[in-house]
């Protein structure tokens, strides 16, 4: 295993971790994905994925549409069930055991491209729902926590509104606050800014950058390369259900190794 400090240092110099099982971040492993296959009928969406994510590490996943990025992070919190291989999150292995699934979901926050806020609840109730129902937090405490999180995502004044009354950027920030209210150890982001108007992208990215700096373990599917450059420890490039190339953001900007990577980057940059 690589020493954590080395990983960071090498990273800033733009080294390649051709092997995605090398851990970055602060060292010990938070998420361990090993040999994961996923089929939709006959179609294989994930082909032998290996990926280790260190505690406090930020991973950005890029790749063409349909390459399996969403499927990969949805397997991590069991929104999709993987067919082979193993997924271990913070020491708990995902299996059919409902308790293991619930334990992992409690520790894993997810932010979706289309926000998926609960339209019938106020912003405050969206955020307090899970802490109150799952963590059995008393109402007052949950609301205090929610207000704190809303201040953190810079929209405390919207607490009493319904999601439909907010802009896209505000909704996505509420969605982040809602996920954080469960005090997760890992945050998964599936193209969190793809559905946003350009002028709202940065308000969401800023919140995510702050979260990264505070030491949250994150896997972010996004094509915002500016974000990747600023906070990602490693970038993972996927194509056709496989991890093609792994490296620091610097590596991807300066000297990507694979032809497919070069082609893809030339299209999005």
């Amino acid at each position: 295993m690589t020493e954590p400090a080395d990983a960071r240092d090498e990273g800033s110099e733009g080294a390649v971790f051709a092997d995605a099982t090398v851990v970055g971040g602060s060292g010990d492993v938070m998420i361990e994905v090993f040999g994961v296959d996923k089929f939709f009928g006959d179609f294989q969406a994930l082909k032998g994925i290996d990926l280790s994510v260190g505690r406090q590490e930020v991973i950005v996943v890029i790749g063409p549409s349909g390459s399996g990025k969403s499927t990969l992070i949805r397997c991590i919190n069991r929104l999709e069930k993987h067919d082979h291989g193993s997924i271990v999150v913070d020491g708990v292995e995902l299996s059919d055991d409902i308790r293991a699934i619930q334990a992992i979901r409690r520790e894993t926050g997810m932010v979706f491209q289309s926000f998926n806020l609960f339209p019938h609840l106020t912003v405050l109730d969206n955020i307090t729902l899970a802490p109150r129902q799952v963590r059995k937090m008393p109402r007052q405490e949950a609301e205090a926590l929610a207000m704190e999180l809303l201040a953190r995502v810079r929209i405390p004044e919207q607490a009493r509104k319904h999601p439909g009354q907010l802009s896209g950027g505000q909704q996505q920030r509420v969605a982040i606050a809602r996920a954080l209210a469960m005090q997760p150890k890992v945050m998964l982001f599936d193209e969190p800014t793809s559905a946003l108007d350009p002028e709202m992208i940065n308000e969401v990215l800023d919140v995510m950058k702050e979260l990264a700096r505070e030491g949250m373990t994150m896997i972010v599917v996004t094509h915002e390369m500016g974000f990747a450059r600023e906070v990602a420890d490693r970038v993972v490039f996927m194509a056709e259900g496989q991890i093609v190339e792994v490296g620091t953001p610097e590596h991807f900007f300066t000297r990507p190794a694979e032809e497919r990577t070069k082609l893809f980057l030339s299209q999005i940059l």
């Binding site: 069991r78 929104l79 979901r105 997810m110 339209p119 899970a130 129902q133 009493r160 319904h162 809602r178």
Partner: protein, 405 residues
């Protein structure tokens, strides 16, 4: 539309006579509407002979229920009004408290304004009540109406004054009370002698209240991953949707006797109520299933990702959205049920419509062609009920629609 206030003449020109086609439509519509209104008014206040209704008012309201036992029906009415008031009071208080928690307190309205709102909301029922009271030849209906209103108001006030914990316990009341108190109130006669408008209301109300939870369970059962439960639900839904209601009504009355010993069966009214309940529940199940399908997948995924267990996810995230989406269809089904209760005439019950049909055969009125009077009166009773249901559903929809996307 312009925001400046228009003079009436301008408004008419803008909205009714903007161009030639508009003008022609307006004139034709005015002639038709005018003619219908004129004929209706002439009938109601001129040519109609309402004695047939007046003389049979008791029959229209309670059928052939024995006169010296009619206090039992009054007692049931008063109890129902009190429970309805109580539930409304508890719910209103809860809503107020929620609104205060949301920093949007609902200010208490002045008494006169509240009366005005109640009037605007229930005017058809109030007009009907007034007509009934004016048609009555004795003072008893006035006393009964007064007692029912007082019971509702007292229930409402008590419900509003209860501390929250007690209030929640009281939710069970409308479910438990009918089984405990009502048999006592109905006495040895039971339900089977009920008739007229009261029978219609009884059948419709009880089936409506009972079919909803049953339909909900069937809908959830149909989506269950347990094959046995899913199969059972599908079987029940498809069977009862596929059978004519008339057949079920007949079956409940005579058919069951072939399968079960007569003495083991509940009374006829209870049996036919169960038939209406299950029949409507099958339709409610399909409506609710449609509602469940209308909730986007992202909603369940978000709830799962937050770690909500399945039952809570259903109760707190999926169902509230699903039901809100199907309120119009549900209420449509309830209105159908309300009108379909008239089918009990085929098993010999004397509901409103049968009364309307019977009274014109009475010796005093036979051969005088009074069916218009009698049927218009019965139709008015139904219309008031159906219209009130429809209005209430729009209110609920609006209230639940606040801030929806």
């Amino acid at each position: 539309m312009s925001t400046a206030p228009m003079s009436p003449a301008t408004w008419v020109r803008h909205n009714l006579f903007r161009n030639r086609r508009d003008a022609i439509t307006t004139v034709i519509a005015a002639v038709v509407v005018g003619w219908v209104v004129f004929q209706t008014l002439r009938f109601v206040f001129g040519t109609a002979r309402w004695e047939v209704v007046r003389a049979n008012l008791t029959l229209f309201l309670v059928g052939r229920y024995p006169a010296d036992e009619q206090w039992r029906i009054v007692a049931v009415l008063i109890a129902a009004a009190a429970v309805a008031g109580l539930v409304t009071g508890v719910l209103t208080k809860r809503r107020r408290r929620a609104a205060i928690a949301d920093d949007a307190p609902l200010p208490p309205l002045p008494f006169a304004r509240r009366l005005g709102l109640i009037g605007a909301r229930y005017w058809p029922a109030l007009v009907l009540l007034l007509v009934l009271l004016l048609l009555a030849r004795t003072s008893t209906p006035w006393v009964v109406a007064g007692a029912v209103i007082v019971a509702a108001v007292v229930g409402r006030l008590v419900g509003g004054a209860l501390p929250p914990k007690v209030g929640i316990v009281l939710y069970a009341l409308p479910v438990v009370l009918p089984f405990v108190a009502l048999p006592f109130l109905t006495g040895p006669l039971g339900w089977d002698d009920w008739g007229g408008m009261m029978l219609t209301i009884l059948l419709a109300t009880v089936s409506m209240i009972a079919c909803f939870p049953l339909g909900l369970l069937l809908a959830l059962g149909r989506r269950s991953t347990l094959p046995a439960l899913r199969g059972l639900s599908i079987g029940v839904i498809e069977f009862f949707r596929g059978v004519p209601l008339v057949a079920l009504v007949l079956m409940s009355d005579v058919g069951l006797g072939f399968f079960f010993p007569r003495d083991a069966l509940p009374g006829r009214v209870v049996r036919v109520t169960i038939a209406f309940t299950i029949f409507t529940a099958a339709y409610v199940a399909e409506i609710v299933r449609g509602g469940l399908q209308s909730v986007p997948r992202g909603q369940t995924e978000a709830a799962q990702a937050l770690g909500l267990p399945p039952v809570r996810m259903m109760a707190l995230v999926v169902l509230p959205q699903a039901l809100r989406n199907v309120i119009p269809a549900l209420v449509g089904q309830f209105i159908s049920l309300f009108k379909d209760t008239t089918l009990v005439f085929i098993i010999g019950f004397l509901d409103v419509l049968s009364v309307a049909d019977n009274v014109i055969q009475q010796p005093d009125f036979r051969g005088q062609g009074l069916f218009a009077e009698s049927l218009v009166f019965a139709a008015a009773l139904f219309w008031v009920g159906a219209y009130t249901l429809s209005r209430e559903s729009q209110r609920i929809e609006r209230r639940l629609g606040v801030g929806s996307r």
